[in-house]
């Protein structure tokens, strides 16, 4: 378990909903609902549940295994988990060290996760391992930009933001490909910074 990352997100849990609970979620709601509507009837892994802000956008009746590195975050998510019309089983877990067998899941979903995973390609390789061959990866992520001046700015901002939260300049689409996934679709929600990514194992 990466204790440094765990401690960082345990600390962030207290005020996470204050910063991210209203404006960002309202703004991203249409894109997130569209992405999570792809949740099927098979076994679903949701990576980095956080305080459960995404749960209201899940379609009802699904059986989801949700993991997060922070027990503080999962504790905060409890009321939203209880309110969900379906089953969410939570576990405190590091994506780099998931104990699931190979090919356990049919689908994996992430939401603003790979801005914070310390070794993103290794984390994505683990996701590919626990997905059945041909299984689906669906991500809602923010990344760096390839355009000036956004690229320069986000590189500079990352030096500050990574101390208490996420990186702002990740190359997540490239990382998905580097981890061995077959990229199927990328939809840009805001600039080339906020996006949904779909890929197959």
């Amino acid at each position: 378990m990466d204790l440094v990352t765990q401690k960082k997100w345990d600390r962030a849990a207290a005020n996470f909903d204050l910063m991210a609970g209203y404006g960002p979620e309202k703004r991203w709601e249409p894109a997130k609902r569209a992405l999570f509507s792809k949740m099927g009837d098979g076994k679903i892994l949701f990576l980095a549940l956080g305080t459960g802000l995404d749960i209201p956008f899940f379609p009802p009746g699904r059986r989801i295994t949700a993991i997060d590195i922070s027990s503080g975050m999962i504790e905060k998510a409890r009321p939203r988990i209880d309110a969900y019309d379906g089953e969410i089983e939570t576990q405190v877990m590091d994506v780099h060290e998931m104990p699931f067998d190979d090919g356990t899941f049919d689908q994996v979903f992430t939401s603003c996760t790979f801005c914070s995973v310390p070794n993103p390609v290794a984390g994505l390789e683990q996701l590919r391992r626990v997905l059945r061959p041909g299984g689906e990866l669906h991500m809602f992520e923010h990344t760096g930009s390839r355009y000036f001046p956004f690229r320069v700015m986000m590189n500079a901002m990352t030096r500050i933001t990574r101390r208490f939260g996420p990186d702002m300049n990740r190359t997540t689409v490239e990382n998905v490909v580097a981890a061995g996934f077959t990229l199927e679709n990328v939809d840009h929600v805001f600039l080339d910074v906020v996006k949904t990514i779909s890929a197959r194992a």
């Binding site: 204050l18 910063m19 991210a20 209203y22 404006g23 960002p24 309202k26 703004r27 991203w28 923010h142 930009s145 355009y147 001046p149 956004f150 700015m153 986000m154 500079a156 901002m157 500050i160 689409v173 990229l183 199927e184 679709n185 990328v186 939809d187 840009h188 805001f190 600039l191 080339d192 910074v193 906020v194």
Partner: protein, 129 residues
């Protein structure tokens, strides 16, 4: 492109407020004694740092990256414009003039970000092939 009135209003408010704030503070830092090029680069950096103060509370109500990225860009532009104007002026800039420059920097930057958003989304399909 964002069309929901609440978020368009939020974008406008955040960028204009940030432009005015950065413009006023920058005008207090720079003056006729500064080399224009040095003032420009220091002003851009200062504008970005100051913008974080505006971006954080605005994010709570109006969105994360959709606020942070344009607001930081506004800070950079307003910092550049006002610091150069202050360095070139024969006397210290009037605060009202600096605020006005910041206001227009915020407005212009937001329009450019909206245009960039439309342009980038039009190109998105090319990147997945």
């Amino acid at each position: 492109m964002e069309t929901r009135p609440y978020f368009v209003f939020g974008d406008l408010l955040a960028n204009v407020l940030d432009g005015v704030f950065v413009g006023v503070v920058t005008s207090l830092v720079f003056g006729p004694g500064w080399n224009m090029i040095v003032a420009m680069f220091v002003g851009m950096a200062l504008g970005m740092v100051l913008s974080m103060i505006v971006a954080l509370p605005m994010q709570v109500g109006f969105g994360a990256m959709e606020i942070m990225v344009p607001v930081m860009t506004t800070g950079m532009v307003a910092g550049m414009v006002v610091s150069m104007a202050a360095a070139m002026a024969p006397a210290d800039l009037a605060l009202a003039h600096a605020a006005r420059l910041g206001f227009y920097s915020g407005l212009g930057t937001l329009v450019c970000c909206y245009a960039a958003n439309v342009w980038i989304q039009g190109r998105a399909s090319l990147w997945t092939s």
